[in-house]
């Protein structure tokens, strides 16, 4: 299944139409014409990392979820517009990663150098904007205003998620809710809404749309929780990005928040965002000593079970089984 999907992904291409400065048909997007813009395109390809081992999970989900129409017996085939949603989701995700890497001043991503390290911050930001505009053009061309509304919500959520990350809450109880909200906005919203978008395109039943959305949301949150766990338990080679990255950025993720319940002295460190020398290492020690990692993993399992419960409401099909398998893979991945 993965190899078939890989062949499809290789074959799929989205080419902008030829450009003319005149209006003509309104949506003529410029090809990335002159050599300068071709450089930008090269950056985009490098960012997307077209190796099988590095295919983001998001795209898998899109492909599989587009099998939702099976429920409605409308078509067994994935529509072109649904494929487009998968592409668009990937593009939005990439654009946000490019900008995030500049914001975090990151040097590596998916085992490679980041765009900002190779070409500088100015070009990185412009590259992110370009990808976003390309995604918007593709989205408009699908021609469905509901789908446009759903996916622009994602863009807004991504930005708001970044803002949530800037701030911090003093109250312990508020902190966890804040963390979950940030996790939803930054990670799960994209998956949930793109699942919903493909289901809207495939099937008119709002019950199905809600199932797709809930599946995506739960898988997304579980995915991010495991990502936060791996930041503590894995080593940099496997992850493709440096570990303890979250602590170094001053972020208090799931394991830290759970550990704080056992070691209240972490409160002060959280509030000052691990800014004093030695904070990062001490916090890491606390987390590894506590059951923070286990608790976060358990929480992720809960979300996965919820996702499976939702998707099981669809009628049996090979695609549904694949989606169930996928949410289990989310829990057991090690990078």
């Amino acid at each position: 299944m993965a190899s078939r999907w890989w062949r499809w992904r290789r074959g799929c291409s989205w080419k902008p139409a030829a450009r003319s400065p005149g209006p003509g048909s309104p949506g003529r997007a410029g090809p990335l014409g002159p050599s300068a813009a071709a450089e930008v395109r090269a950056q985009v390809h490098r960012r997307k990392g077209l190796d099988l081992s590095q295919i983001p999970y998001i795209n898998l989900v899109k492909h599989l979820t587009s099998a939702c129409p099976n429920v409605c017996r409308i078509s067994r085939h994935v529509q072109a517009s649904q494929r487009a949603i998968a592409l668009i989701a990937e593009m939005i995700h990439t654009a946000s990663l490019v900008h995030d890497d500049v914001i975090d001043d990151a040097s590596s991503r998916r085992g490679k150098h980041t765009v900002n390290k190779i070409w500088g911050e100015k070009k990185a930001v412009l590259a992110g904007d370009l990808i976003l505009s390309a995604a918007s053009i593709a989205l408009a061309r699908i021609g469905n205003t509901t789908v446009i509304s759903i996916l622009t919500q994602v863009i807004e959520d991504l930005v708001r998620g970044e803002f949530l990350q800037l701030g911090s809450k003093e109250n312990e109880n508020e902190r966890f809710a804040h963390y979950l909200e940030k996790t939803f906005k930054k990670t799960a919203s994209l998956i949930a809404n793109s699942c919903k978008a493909v289901s809207v395109l495939g099937c008119p039943d709002p019950v199905v749309h809600e199932i797709a959305y809930q599946y995506g949301k739960n898988v997304g949150i579980a995915f991010q929780l495991i990502d936060d766990v791996l930041d503590f338990t894995s080593c940099s080679d496997q992850m493709g990005k440096p570990t303890s990255a979250d602590l170094k950025l001053g972020l208090a993720t799931g394991p830290v928040l759970f550990a704080c319940q056992q070691f209240p002295e972490m409160n002060a460190m959280i509030m000052r965002r691990f800014s004093l020398p030695g904070d990062v290492d001490r916090a890491r020690q606390y987390v590894l000593q506590s059951d923070g990692v286990q608790q976060t993993t358990y929480l992720a399992q809960q979300y996965c079970h919820e996702a499976i419960r939702e998707i099981s409401k669809l009628r049996p099909s090979p695609e549904r089984d694949a989606l169930i398998q996928l949410s289990e893979i989310v829990l057991t991945r090690d990078k």
Partner: protein
């Protein structure tokens, strides 16, 4: 001054010439009389400009204003404002941009929104397609067109903010601490993204895929245009090896596309036909291009050349001069002039006389 004359005045004040075609005026407007009477006006002082702008704002009822955007009420924007305040005292470009947005008395930053509103009113409702009859209209402009004007401003300002990102590895000690620049970059990216996200949301609410595609492609053009701007040689002692037609293409991307496609989109929202949309596009494009060319020409027509006003070696007059002279001779001329003020003003004088003799 009445409305038709105002729309004709605007390009003149910006240095354009020639009357726009009148074929698409709304039938409720009278034909224009004595167009020639305003050609005698040569006053282009800022005060006069302000007067033109405030009259325009009266005509459209209420202007697009950065301050009226609903995103101003959001937590994020007050968060941004708080963060930008931390940048005071640093040299990050974001501070300059922010100051310009708040204190700009020239109002040039809101030009785009105003032009979109004016053109929406000028065209009026479509006489052919009456499906918009139920849309609400204030001062002759549909609310969706007002929303579009806001979105245009949002996109423009977002890219203005993103233009201010600095490359960290090119910093010198005179730029101040690295941390300040990093922080400034972070806030600049977030603010720009926030504005773009609001623009996208606004576009989605318009429920018109053609308009979404138009504005998204305008954004893509703008990004490419800014990319070209940044790619000009860092030393800035030499003009790029381009002719004026390439310059026009690049300037269309960085300056013309947004206004052109916005004007076209405004017509689409009122369901005007392709001919009207095309005319709106051309108006927006030429308006924006003439604005850019006008500002390029300014350093060469200042009365006092001792002002030592710098000019961009990739601005229109210079590129034209290079094309007439040939690149080798031009590079030789640049090499012959040194960096002292006296010779720089001679340099400008020489350019000016060349341009005037070939005009």
């Amino acid at each position: 001054m009445n409305f038709r004359q105002l729309l004709l005045h605007l390009p003149r004040y910006l240095g354009a010439s020639g009357s726009p075609r009148r074929l698409w005026w709304s039938p409720s407007l009278d034909t224009i009389s004595s167009v020639g009477s305003w050609r005698g006006r040569s006053s282009k002082s800022p005060a006069h400009w302000n007067q033109v702008v405030s009259e325009a704002e009266k005509i459209v009822g209420y202007p697009t204003s950065f301050m009226s955007l609903r995103c101003l009420l959001s937590d994020e924007l007050s968060n941004i404002a708080m963060q930008v305040r931390k940048l005071v005292g640093t040299q990050h470009p974001l501070l300059t941009t922010a100051r310009g947005l708040v204190h700009d008395s020239w109002n040039s930053l809101q030009l785009r929104g105003l032009v979109v509103l004016l053109i929406s009113k000028a065209a009026g409702p479509s006489s052919v397609n009456t499906s918009c009859q139920n849309y609400d209209m204030v001062s002759g402009i549909y609310s969706c067109q007002r929303s579009l004007a806001e979105i245009t401003e949002l996109i423009h300002i977002a890219l203005l903010v993103h233009r201010g990102i600095v490359n960290l590895n090119e910093l010198q000690s005179s730029d101040g601490p690295l941390k300040d620049m990093q922080f400034g970059n972070k806030i600049a990216i977030l603010s720009g993204d926030f504005l773009l996200a609001n623009a996208c949301n606004g576009l989605a609410l318009l429920q018109n895929t053609k308009v979404v595609e138009l504005l998204a492609s305008a954004l893509m053009d703008l990004v490419q245009g800014v990319y070209h701007e940044n790619s000009t040689s860092k030393e800035s002692y030499i003009t790029d090896d381009i002719g004026i037609s390439t310059w026009k293409e690049q300037t269309f991307l960085s300056h013309g596309a947004l206004l052109a496609k916005s004007c076209q989109a405004a017509m689409e929202l009122a369901k005007h036909d392709a001919e009207v949309q095309n005319m709106a596009f051309q108006y927006g494009k030429h308006m924006a291009m003439s604005h850019k060319i006008n500002s390029d020409v300014q350093p060469f027509i200042k009365e006092k050349t001792s002002d030592s006003m710098t000019f961009n070696l990739n601005s229109a007059p210079v590129v034209l001069h290079q094309e007439f002279l040939g690149r080798d001779l031009w590079i030789k001329q640049i090499g012959e002039s040194s960096s002292t003020e006296v010779q720089l003003s001679n340099f400008q004088q020489m350019l000016l006389s060349t341009l005037l003799s070939t005009a």
